[in-house]
Structures are given as structure tokens and as C-alpha cells.
């Protein structure tokens, strides 16, 4: 019975999700209840799988599902984030509840299926279902923007899915098997390189790396927030990086060229996406660009090919899923309570939504890599991976290091802007009637924010020891030092010094006054909304050009492919001019061609 647990974990939610369609909409509560119970059960089961790792499905020579250290860890993450975002969505999704819950369950089952699949055929099937489920979930917003975004996502993910099929075919021709064993196929022939790149493109598209990133900001802006937090922010990251790690560590034997390709993709993704994030006006779209840029770190980490870099990449994947889904959830809270995520229409919300603000502040500091939060530890490990790889490779490591560290500085800039224009600064209007979110939404945000803190302060004793190092599969040697516990203690002590300075003074020396702007009435001064903070960048010659090109879709593989296809179809269209003699000429030319070929063969 236990041995079947993996198959049950995959099939149960999918069949439950399909069966749920028969529940009428007015029994939405039943759908909520069912999906919650199933998600909870799967979370428990994934913990069991993580501890026991049942490796085989009896009665079959080759297992269909398997759980090794890597996939059981990813499966645990999938079940956890599904449970958290599902809880949040109970208070957020107010119509089409049955449909939503059924899609969520199908997604959950397929994600677990993709992660526990022991061979590529299973993976391909679940990957395809996931693309479809994302399309349906994004479309639930019902706007025309959502329709466009979901179409883009489906085309990019589906297209790379086809590439993966192609790559798997080559892999089968080379090894004669579809199973995801540790074959370590060397990347020495053109075919194996094509196979690697084809499968890698599917993983990059899923995770949202360049050049397959353009669906992610669109989806983040248009889809409902729980959907974004559920798929692009957490599950898609876990699965995309899982596949990349699987093919780079087990299936193919990486060499310096393929590593350099990964490092280039990672660095470009990181810097480019964060530069674009700086000038965004919409909170959700801004977060969407960061969801792209953070993938850069994970790809760089895997590209360093050093144990610490790979462990750092996996850790960053986990951390990113934690704080990024938390950030999306806070944006949902802001949207629900104020009706907008346009940053120029917000401001000063920290007073009215303290829990949301606290969660957003912690996650912002974590994503910016400020010690002692979790994002710092994983970035620190990736930097060490880069420096470690420097000893054995050329001078290019400086580029990766600078891209990674500088990307972090730009991330801080972007989140300072977000915090200012949404939660701090002068409010755009009177938000006096705004209350903080209820428990169902507050608890998921609080759990994720707390995890960011705990995984930072106890990084070595909890996440790295339990999840990351076993999943990465090799011992890690740190070339630097970092004692988060002692550092946190000393930061707190420093805070107490500061607060002590306030304390040993009489309290009557505190007084409240209005803000001072050169003696003018504060309201007479223009409000600084914060969205225009970095418009200086747009005025710079080359950066301005990049921003303009992005607006016109020059970096969007979807738009560019569409243009390319319309060039080809344009040529064909011109041939079809509807004039009979033209068609006859083409027929004759074709026949002449055929005759020449045939007679040449005879002679």
C-alpha cells in the first residue's frame, strides 16, 4: 500500500479535480472544503515521502514514479505552497469557486506527477497538462488582457514543451531509454547539445528565464493574485529549476561550454529583468519582473557547477518561492482592500494594514538579500560558488559575480520604491476606511514571512541541513563565514542600544507636529508618489533606448516569433493572388522540376 503512495498522490487530486466539475456553483463551500482536505492530506503525504522515499512501484520493471532526495524535496515544496496559496484564495476568490478549486487540484496533481516522474514520457504529459491548467487559471480573470496573457503563456510554454519532446527523442535515440537515470550523457556531439538545449529551454520557459520570460510579467499583471502566487511565483519555479537541475546534474555531463551558456543566460536574465522592474508602475507587474530576475540567480548557481553553487541555487529556489509568493499575496491584499495595485494611487498603507506591511517589509528585505534573512544566505552561497569556480576557469567569473551582486543592489532599489509608493510616503487619498485583511489571508502571509526569517537565522541548522544539502547530493564546503545566529543577536543588541537612547530620556520631550516643508502647507506641495523615482534612468541615452524597445516588444520572443511567422506567411499570401494563370505557371514549373529530377536519375 505504501509503495503506491506516489501514484495515489498524483492521481487522487487529478481525479478529484475532474470529479469536482459536477458540484454546482452554489455549493462552492463544499469545493473549498474538499480541496483543502486534499491539499492538507497531500502535504502530510509529501512529508511522509520526504522521510521514507519509496522508490519503486511494484509490478513494473521500470518505475513510473520515483522519489529520490531531490524530487521528494521538490514535492514537499509543491504541496506546501499549494496549501498556503489555497488557504489564502478562500478569502480572495469570490466567483467560479468550483472551477478554480478544480483547476488548482488538477495543477497540484500534475505538478506532483511532473516532479515524481521517473521517466520523460510521464514528465512530458504532466508538463503539458500544467501548461493548459495555467492557461485556464489565468483566463479566470475574464478580462481581455488576461486572455492575451494566457495565450502568450500557453504558446511559449507549449512551444518549449514541443522542443522538450524533440530533445527527449534525441535522448532516446542516444541512450535507448526514457528514464531519468544518472546517465551523464557527455555533451560532446551536436546532437546531445541540441537535446540538452531543447530540454533546458522547457525548464527555462517554465521558470521564466530569458529569452522565454515575457509571459510572466503579463500573467502577473492580469491573473488573479492567488493564481500568480501559486503558479509563476512558486510551483513553476520549483518545477523549472527541478528539471534544469535534473538534466544538468544527472542526465547530461556538463562541460565548460554548457556551463558558460547557463551563466550567460542567468546573468542576462538577472540584470535585464531587474532593470525593467525599476520603472514599473504596477505593483503586480513589478513583482512579475522580479520573478523573472530571481531565476537568474538559480541558473547562475547551477552554471557554476560547484557543489556550493548548486546547493545555493536550490536554496534560492526555495527562498524565492517563499518570499515571492508572500509578496504576491500582499499585493493581493492591497488590491482587495483598496481596489488598485497602481502604485501612483496608493501610499501610506502601513498604518491601515500593519500585518500586510510587515509581511511585505520582511519579504522585500529578504529578496534584496539583506542579512539575516533567507535570501541573503542563498545569494551568499551562489557568490561563493562563482568564486570557487574562478579557481578553475577563465576571467569571466568577475562578470557573473558583478551581475549577481549588482543585481542585488538594483533589487533593493526596486523594493524601496515599492515600499514607498504602496505602504509609506504620503497617501494618494484618504484610506481611513481601509482595514487589514482577515485571518484567512493574514495567516498565509505571516507564515511565509516567518519562514523567511527562520530560514535566514537558522539557515544552517534547518533548511540547509534537512532539505538542501541532501537534495544537492554532495558535501558543501564554505569558503566564507557567516554566523546568522550571532549576527542576529548582535543586531538586536544594537537595536536595544538605539531604543535605550530614547528610553533614558523623559518622555515629555517627545512632541507631535505637522510635517515641515520650508514653512509651506504640506498639502500645497506636490505628493511624491514614488513611481517616478527612477525616471532618471529613462533619460539616459542607452537605457532609455532599452526601455523603449521593451515597450515595443523587441525582447519578447512571442512578439518576435509572431513577426517572423507573418513574414513567411506574407510571402505565401502574395503567391496566392487568385489569378488563374499564376497558378498554372506554378503547376508547370513544378512539373518541369519533377521531370528534371526523374530524368536526371535515369541518365
Amino acid at each position: 500500500m505504501y509503495a503506491n503512495i506516489l501514484a495515489n498522490m498524483v492521481l487522487l487530486p487529478i481525479s478529484a479535480g475532474l470529479a469536482m466539475f459536477i458540484i454546482p456553483e452554489r455549493y462552492g463551500r463544499l469545493a473549498k472544503f474538499l480541496s483543502f482536505i486534499i491539499a492538507l492530506g497531500l502535504f502530510a503525504a509529501s512529508i511522509y515521502v520526504f522521510n521514507v522515499k519509496p522508490a519503486f512501484w511494484p509490478g513494473v520493471d521500470k518505475p513510473i514514479f520515483m522519489a529520490d532526495t531531490l524530487s521528494s524535496f521538490i514535492g514537499l515544496g509543491i504541496a506546501f505552497f499549494a496549501l498556503v496559496t489555497l488557504t489564502y484564495s478562500f478569502a480572495f476568490i469570490d466567483k467560479d469557486i468550483v472551477k478554480y478549486n478544480s483547476y488548482v487540484l488538477i495543477t497540484l496533481g500534475s505538478s506532483l506527477g511532473a516532479c515524481y516522474s521517473a521517466n520523460f514520457l510521464g514528465l512530458l504529459i504532466f508538463w503539458g497538462v500544467l501548461a493548459l491548467a495555467l492557461y485556464l487559471l489565468v483566463n479566470m480573470s475574464g478580462t481581455s488582457g488576461a486572455a492575451k496573457a494566457s495565450e502568450k503563456a500557453l504558446v511559449i510554454i507549449g512551444g518549449t514543451d514541443a522542443l522538450m519532446l524533440f530533445g527527449v527523442g534525441i535522448l532516446w535515440a542516444a541512450t535507448g531509454s526514457f528514464s531519468m537515470d544518472k546517465t551523464h550523457l557527455p555533451l560532446d556531439s551536436a546532437l546531445s547539445i541540441i537535446a540538452y538545449l531543447s530540454i533546458a529551454s522547457a525548464s527555462l520557459a517554465k521558470a521564466g528565464a530569458m529569452p522565454f520570460h515575457s509571459w510572466l510579467p503579463d500573467v502577473a499583471e492580469e491573473a488573479k493574485v492567488p493564481v500568480t502566487a501559486y503558479l509563476p511565483a512558486s510551483l513553476d519555479k520549483l518545477l523549472g529549476i527541478y528539471l534544469l537541475a535534473r538534466i544538468s546534474l544527472d542526465i547530461f555531463a556538463m562541460n565548460s561550454i554548457s556551463n558558460t551558456i547557463l551563466l550567460v543566460i542567468g546573468s542576462v536574465t538577472l540584470i535585464f529583468a531587474v532593470t525593467l522592474a525599476l520603472v514599473q508602475h504596477d505593483m503586480k507587474r513589478l513583482l512579475g519582473y522580479h520573478a523573472v530576475s530571481q531565476v537568474g540567480y538559480m541558473i547562475i548557481g547551477i552554471g557554476t557547477a560547484s557543489p556550493i553553487g548548486i546547493a545555493g541555487a536550490l536554496f534560492h529556489m526555495l527562498n524565492n518561492a517563499i518570499y515571492k509568493s508572500c509578496l504576491f499575496l500582499t499585493s493581493g491584499a492591497v488590491e482587495q482592500k483598496t481596489g488598485s495595485t497602481d502604485m501612483s494611487k496608493l501610499g501610506g498603507l502601513s498604518k491601515y494594514m500593519p500585518v500586510t506591511f510587515a509581511a511585505c517589509l520582511v519579504s522585500s528585505l529578504a529578496i534584496s538579500g539583506i542579512p539575516p534573512f533567507n535570501g541573503f544566505v542563498s545569494k551568499w552561497m551562489i557568490y561563493q560558488g562563482i568564486i570557487e569556480s574562478a579557481k578553475s576557469s577563465g576571467p569571466l567569473w568577475v562578470i557573473w559575480l558583478v551581475a549577481a551582486m549588482y543585481g542585488s543592489a538594483l533589487t533593493i532599489a526596486s523594493f524601496m520604491k515599492l515600499l514607498h509608493s504602496v505602504f509609506l510616503g504620503r497617501p494618494a487619498r484618504n484610506f481611513g476606511d481601509v482595514k487589514d485583511v482577515g485571518l484567512l489571508m493574514a495567516v498565509p502571509m505571516a507564515i511565509l514571512a516567518l519562514l523567511s526569517i527562520i530560514f535566514g537565522i537558522f539557515a544552517f541548522t534547518i533548511p540547509l541541513k534537512l532539505f538542501i544539502i541532501p537534495a544537492a547530493g554532495s558535501a558543501v564546503f564554505y569558503i566564507g563565514t557567516w554566523s546568522p545566529g550571532a549576527a542576529t543577536m548582535m543586531l538586536v543588541a544594537g537595536l536595544i542600544i538605539g531604543l535605550g537612547i530614547y528610553a533614558f530620556m523623559k518622555s515629555k520631550s517627545f512632541r507631535t507636529t505637522t510635517t515641515f516643508i520650508g514653512g509651506e502647507e504640506p498639502s500645497s506641495m506636490d505628493r511624491v508618489s514614488g513611481t517616478e523615482f527612477y525616471d532618471t534612468l529613462k533619460d539616459m541615452k542607452w537605457l532609455g533606448r532599452i526601455y523603449k524597445k521593451e515597450d515595443s516588444g523587441s525582447f519578447d520572443i512571442y512578439v518576435q516569433t509572431k513577426n517572423l511567422i507573418s513574414v513567411f506567411t506574407g510571402v505565401l499570401q502574395r503567391l496566392h493572388n487568385g489569378v488563374l494563370p499564376t497558378y498554372i505557371v506554378w503547376c508547370l514549373l513544378g512539373m518541369i522540376g519533377l521531370f528534371i529530377v526523374l530524368f536526371m536519375g535515369k541518365i
Binding site: S350, K351, L365, G369, I370, P371, W380, Y383, Q384, I387, K391, P395, V398, V402, M405, Y406, A409, I412, A413, M416, L419, H420, L424, G425, R426, I479, G480, T481, W482, A486, A487, M490, L491, A493, G494, L495, I497, G498, L499, I501, Y502, S509, F510, R511, T512, T513, T514, T515, F516, I517, G518, P522, M525, D526, V528, G530, F533, Y534, T536, M540
Partner: protein, 312 residues
């Protein structure tokens, strides 16, 4: 080390009290030299202590109406905590390079971001337009100097055998001679000098504060104790960042007499460069500063890294 050992290091020596004292003394040197350049007499040595004491004990602390008290007063304390931790780490590692105390070079580079973040958030909390404007300039400035700063930081890393532990870097320079003794080291040093000029908010890169224009920017609503804590934090950074530079480029603080004298000369040299730049340049616009750091300074840093790679 037990918890009291840590707290002793943090609170008294070489942490909070010592660094604060040294920082205020550095502030006095700054004011005195500036005064001499301008043919003035300048303040006595205890002037900065009086200024801080005045803010702490005499002046009242004003809080803007309607802002969160905890955040408004908490941000100075957060900045102070960051500055104190960095000071303790740099000095303890210098005193005993073999102990990997708390963290390495990357940790310090990131902890150094806590004080400016605290200043910016403090400005944002105060809901003043000028504070927001100043903080946004601070952010843009940080964005521009971080690029050459990181590049310059890789030069000592390369020179010290790809080590990022500060203690190992000190030992490596003890064996191989200081990083500053090479062409790449000199260029990287001067690149970093410009970056810390901006990090410390000194003229010509004081546009986030710009008293004459946006009335101290993020600090505009701060007064009394809260402002005093911010000033103290800034003074501490004014002392510890030059020490950090000495650690990276001159092999840290030496324990013999002649070595220590050299350290003092190095420290004075860094201070004089900063003060001279400060007193001979007018404030530049933010876009000029960004162009400056992104173009010539970054180019110089790239040259330094290339030279270091070829062992020069």
C-alpha cells in the same frame, strides 16, 4: 565565546562606544581641516560630543502627525544596529585574523547596506515630500556607486588568492605584501575612495541631503534623539569605512609599533583625500553623479580587475 563576551565586544570595545568615540573624533578632524582650508580656526576637539549630547539630552524630539511612531523612531535604531555590527566585525577580525568572526567580506558589504536603508525608510515613514525626494536620490546614488564598488572589491579578492574571509585576506597580505603595492591595487583603491565618498554622503555626492535645496532630505523631519542617533551612526561609519579600506588594501591593523604608525598614516591619508575632495568640489546633480560612476569610474574599475587578473 559566551554571550557576555559577544555583548562586551559589541557594546564597549571595539564595538559601539569605541567606534562612536573614534567616529566623533574623525568628525572633528574633518571640521578642523575644513576650517583651516577656509582660513577659519575651527571647533575644539570636544565639539562633536557636545553636539550629540545636545541632541540627546536637551532638544525635544518632534514626530510628524499621523505617522507610525514605532517605525519613525525605530529606523534610526536599526541604522545604528547595522553600523555597530559592522564596526565590531571589522575591528575584531583585525585584532585576531584567525577567528572568522560572524562573517566575511560579502557579509560586510551587505551589512553596510543596512544604515542607508534605515535612513531611506525613515525618510519614507515621515510622509514628507522632500524626504521622499532625498531618499530616492540616495537610492539612485547607491545604484550607481555599487557597480564600481563591487568591481573594485574583486581586486583584493583576486590578489588574496580568491579568498573572501577578511582574516585570510589580512594574512595573505602579510605574506605577499599589501594589495595597494600593485598597479591594480592602486586603481581599485582610488575607485573605492570615490565610492565611499558617496557611501558616506560627502560633497560632491551629498545630493540626497542637500541642505540648501531639499533641507537634509530624509532627515528633514528628524530632530532630537532620533536625529542624534542618525548622526552617531554616520560618524561611526566615517571611522569604520576607512578602517575597512585599510583592511582590504593595506593588510589591516598591525600589532607592532612601526606597523601601527603606518596604519595611522594610512588612515590620515584616506581622511585627507576625502576632506580635500569634499572641500574643493561643488555638489553635482544626481544624473551627473550616476553618469560619473557608471562611465569613467566603472571603466577604471574594469581596468583594475583586468590588471589584477594578469597579476599586475
Amino acid at each position: 565565546m559566551n554571550i557576555f563576551g559577544y555583548l562586551g565586544l559589541l557594546l564597549i570595545f571595539p564595538g559601539f562606544l569605541f567606534t562612536a568615540f573614534m567616529g566623533l573624533m574623525v568628525g572633528w578632524v574633518d571640521r578642523k581641516v575644513t576650517a583651516r582650508i577656509q582660513y577659519r580656526v575651527g571647533p575644539p576637539w570636544y565639539q562633536n560630543f557636545f553636539d550629540i549630547a545636545k541632541l540627546f539630552f536637551i532638544k525635544e524630539t518632534l514626530i510628524p502627525a499621523g505617522v507610525s511612531r514605532a517605525l519613525f523612531l525605530g529606523m534610526p535604531a536599526l541604522g545604528l544596529a547595522g553600523a555597530t555590527l559592522v564596526s565590531t566585525m571589522v575591528l575584531v577580525i583585525n585584532a585576531s585574523p584567525k577567528t572568522g568572526f560572524i562573517g566575511d567580506l560579502i557579509v560586510i558589504a551587505y551589512l553596510l547596506l543596512i544604515p542607508p536603508i534605515a535612513v531611506m525608510l525613515g525618510g519614507f515613514v515621515s510622509e514628507n515630500s522632500l524626504a521622499s525626494l532625498g531618499a530616492s536620490r540616495e537610492m539612485k546614488l547607491m545604484m550607481s556607486y555599487e557597480l564600481p564598488f563591487i568591481l573594485a572589491m574583486t581586486v583584493p579578492i583576486i590578489k588574496c588568492g580568491y579568498s573572501i574571509k577578511l582574516g585570510e585576506m589580512i594574512s595573505a597580505q602579510y605574506v605577499n605584501g599589501p594589495v595597494f603595492a600593485s598597479a591594480s591595487g592602486v586603481i581599485a583603491f582610488f575607485v573605492m575612495m570615490l565610492c565611499i565618498q558617496a557611501k558616506l554622503g560627502f560633497v560632491p555626492f551629498d545630493m540626497p541631503e542637500a541642505e540648501t535645496e531639499i533641507m537634509a532630505g530624509p532627515y528633514i523631519e528628524y530632530s532630537g534623539k532620533a536625529l542624534g542617533i542618525f548622526k552617531l551612526q554616520k560618524a561611526m561609519l566615517g571611522f569604520i569605512i576607512p578602517v575597512f579600506m585599510i583592511t582590504l588594501f593595506f593588510g589591516g591593523i598591525k600589532d607592532d609599533f612601526s606597523g601601527f604608525m603606518k596604519n595611522i598614516a594610512e588612515f590620515a591619508g584616506i581622511l585627507v583625500i576625502m576632506i580635500v575632495i569634499k572641500n574643493t568640489n561643488p555638489r553635482v546633480r544626481i544624473d551627473q553623479a550616476m553618469g560619473f560612476f557608471w562611465k569613467p569610474v566603472t571603466a577604471a574599475a574594469v581596468i583594475a580587475v583586468a590588471l589584477a587578473y594578469f597579476g599586475k
